[in-house]
């Protein structure tokens, strides 16, 4: 299990390859990459605040929970903080498993929990000013799926 919280950019493709490399017995690798989305072209910057210390703990707890629920060979979580430009990768998760259902479900589960249970807060900076991104009820409701 690999959990990284960092300000630095990362290369999703290189991370996927190094995550998948040298494994035997796996049949499926699923990755999710979250990207700073600019809906209307007005986003200048995304600022991501986090709670150092708790962040790694919370993510590790979520990843361990996934490893308990599904037969996984490994889990990778990378999450950035700080200032990100539109189009930049914010975070990624990857799961490796013998079977595709476990890899898909675990990645989906990890994303739902990272959204609502890992201490990150997003703020959007536009020409009009700054605004904190509000949590969506749908994100909290998504946890009931599991």
């Amino acid at each position: 299990m690999q959990v990284r919280v960092q300000a630095e950019a990362f290369d999703a493709g290189a991370e996927l390859n190094s995550f998948a490399a040298g494994r035997t017995g796996i049949g499926a690798v699923v990755s999710f990459t979250g990207v700073v989305r600019d809906t209307d072209g007005g986003l200048q910057e995304m600022l991501i605040e986090h709670y150092p210390g708790m962040t790694e703990k919370a993510i590790t707890k979520i990843a361990k929970e996934a490893a308990t629920r599904w037969a996984l060979a490994d889990v990778l979580v990378i999450h950035r903080h700080g200032s990100l430009k539109p189009g930049a990768p914010i975070m990624m998760v990857a799961t490796a498993a013998a079977h595709r259902a476990a890899a898909f479900e675990a990645a989906d589960f990890l994303m739902d929990y990272l959204k609502s249970r890992a201490p990150f807060w997003k703020k959007e900076v536009t020409a009009d000013g700054e605004a904190w991104v509000a949590a969506k009820d749908a994100d909290e409701d998504a946890l009931d799926r599991w």
Partner: protein, 81 residues
């Protein structure tokens, strides 16, 4: 006790963390003490249903006891991922 704030809670209160001397038994008691201090705390804690609390870096709730806790964190619902 170390009290830390994140996101708009931090902005409303105007500082990221502070050391608070308190005899508060629960998180709610601590919130009441802070709210009584100054308007900026009252503004931050106006609606605790819109807030989350962590005790020693574990998510908790506002009824929780503070005995033995070294760090309390207040923040809005998380928006990671």
């Amino acid at each position: 006790m170390n009290v830390v704030y994140f996101a708009w809670v931090r902005e409303r209160i105007g500082l990221p963390q502070e050391v608070v001397e308190t005899e508060a038994v629960t998180v709610n008691d601590l919130v009441a003490e802070l709210v009584a201090r100054e308007e900026r705390y009252a503004a931050a804690f106006a609606d605790t249903t819109a807030l989350r609390v962590a005790l020693d870096q574990e998510l908790s709730d506002f009824d929780a006891l503070l005995a033995g806790v070294k760090e309390v964190a207040f923040f809005p619902p998380m928006t990671g991922g």
